[in-house]
Symmetry: C2
Subunit: 372 residues, 2 copies
């Protein structure tokens, strides 16, 4: 059974050798050429499908997204299909602002224990609001882009290449329709779709710099995203975990969770399976919080869930947690062990999810190899 049947139909941007960037939809192991389909008047989208990125399509809004998706599903068997192996995939959208949350209770508690052992794992504000920060939009890159190990200040008097290079397995939400002061019920009107995110992190740079204004160079060198944006309506909504204490009114109702099951491979060895469905704060709450102060979200905004970690060690979404800051290395299939990333290491995060109508859909993967 394919994870990319007619119930998934994710959007991406591809090119063939020597050709320009075009919008396509993945079906099985092929890409349907939507630019050609619109040029041939098979789909009417006002030119939105004849663009080098998804931004114009994403700005159209939910009714058009639904209509175009239905039309693509209907036409799929007859649309020009190019084998995936013959195309190059590109960053699917131009990133406006990139915001990263911190919404796994297990992750926040683990990181607190590791980085601030003298204080409680969870900060007092954590269950009252979805903690987040702004990241660097310029360094969001598509899956497959090599990750150059960053250099920086690693501690008092120390400068050099990071020795604690890490990943963060996350789920990202891509905004289509701009807005301010959104309610949680507005999620589906504004969010176009979902990608996988690896928020690469240099833990030593981060630990030295982050007081008092938060992560900066420890995270701004690269953030990788999967090339396929899975439409929000492809997912079967599920019940989110209970929240105690009850959040403020502007964060209610919480909106749905998504049952996305991540899988982290380190040089081909599966080391972790983080469960997104257990995240404490939902994407609807993150979007409502983000815009509650009047801040504008724009077409192309990316907001990420924060590291997805479950209660078990084998569900950790970062190597900081998986190896407990390097103290408990993991063994890979080739017999070597790892605390943090070595040059040449490859990390691939893939995922499947509960799809509408009881199906299982694919989100594809986001991969990257560390170079010196």
């Amino acid at each position: 059974m394919t994870l990319f049947g007619p119930e998934t139909l994710p959007y991406g941007v591809f090119s063939t050798p020597g050709g320009a960037r075009r919008i396509g939809v993945r079906l099985g192991d092929a890409v349907l050429d939507l630019a050609r389909a619109e040029a041939d008047d098979l789909i009417l989208a006002g030119g939105a499908l004849r663009q080098p990125s998804l931004n114009v399509l994403m700005a159209l809004g939910r009714p058009q997204w639904t209509a175009i998706r239905a039309r693509v599903a209907e036409l799929a068997p007859d649309l020009p299909a190019i084998p995936l192996a013959d195309v190059e995939l590109h960053l699917p959208f131009e990133v406006a602002d990139y915001t990263d949350f911190y919404s796994s209770e297990h992750h926040a508690t683990n990181v607190g224990r590791i980085l601030r052992p003298d204080r409680p794992g969870l900060q007092p504000n954590w269950k009252h609001l979805p903690i987040g920060y702004h990241g660097r939009a310029a360094t969001v890159v598509v899956s497959g882009t090599p990750i150059a190990r960053p250099a920086g200040q690693l501690g008092p008097g120390e400068y050099g290449p990071s020795r604690r290079l890490d990943i963060e397995a996350e789920v990202g939400f891509v905004v289509g329709v701009p807005g301010r002061r959104l309610r949680t019920a507005d999620l589906a009107e504004h969010v176009f779709g979902v990608v996988l995110v690896n928020d690469w992190s240099a833990r030593d740079i981060q630990a030295y710099e982050y007081q008092p204004l938060g992560p900066f160079l420890g995270k701004s060198f690269a953030t990788s995203v999967s090339p396929w944006v899975v439409p929000l309506e492809a997912f079967a909504p599920v019940e989110p975990p209970a929240q105690d204490p009850a959040p403020h009114d502007y964060l209610l109702p919480p909106g749905p969770a998504l049952d996305i099951r991540l899988r982290v491979e380190w040089n081909g060895t599966e080391v972790s399976s983080p469960p997104y469905a257990q995240m404490y704060w939902t994407p609807a709450q993150q979007l409502a919080h983000l815009t509650s102060n009047g801040a504008l979200v724009r077409t192309g905004d990316l907001f990420a869930s924060g590291t997805v970690s479950g209660p078990e060690r084998s569900q950790a979404g970062s190597f900081l947690e998986l190896t407990w800051n390097g103290a408990e290395p993991v063994r890979l299939a080739d017999g070597t062990t790892r605390g943090f990333l070595l040059d040449g290491d490859t990390v691939t995060i893939s995922a499947t999810a509960a799809g509408a109508g009881g199906t299982t859909i694919g989100l594809g993967s986001v991969t990257g190899t560390v170079c010196p």
Copy 2:
């Protein structure tokens, strides 16, 4: 003597009633229409002056910036001039990433004392690296835009409009030419010019949310910039303050400081005069630090100095410091007193600077009025 003589010539984007946005240069109390000048073949800039924002011009690079500036100065008496009073000024560039530093030792020490009275004012890392964070590019607005008081979580169990709405008087640097891993000596090749910045801040929202990932909603509702971008070459470089301990090699040489003298007016009463020349970290060091990990800066990036505060209370760049968190209110000319901003209050930050050749140049002003 005008502050906008031929030694200043800042760039902006203007429109006349019913007209499109055009690039202009300020000379005295008039705007020289550069779009028309290029259309008339008086200046050759490859179309860069016939754009609705400065971004294409800013991407050309230093040799072209210098050549165009010289040509504008030469032609100025003969160029079509529109009275300032007849134009509307717009955000002069499209903001790519917005980064805010924290480079005044006096400000960092004051804020530390106010917010974290149990610990030393300055964090241990502060003199080793220019601390900074990413802000929200979407909410950078031009001077004159009304500032809606943000609502948010003000503390445990409290939600409502901010009661401690504040300003931060800053100097902003606008990137023209993209780059990574820049040296401090690269500043003038990459930075196009300078604006004034008011980084509006809701201190109660910020204080509750900022641990552990830094400022988020407390600052993301609005950041105002002055409409005129003053070219870097209009400034006379001055010696920056000595740094002890010596910074790491990648932050040396420190590059020049700029002698920019800010002035903060609260409802027309001058309440503060922050001296930019005394900032501990220079813009060249901020740019080198920002890109040292491989992060990309792009055309339209804005990086701001951080609040400019001098050693005296009358040199504070924020009301948090000026009124010591509201405990020592200031008296305005109308006899009323203020701790933080009330609805209807107007703040105007203006500045002059030491210009090349012993002149004094103007940076204009950034203003905003608080509405409920």
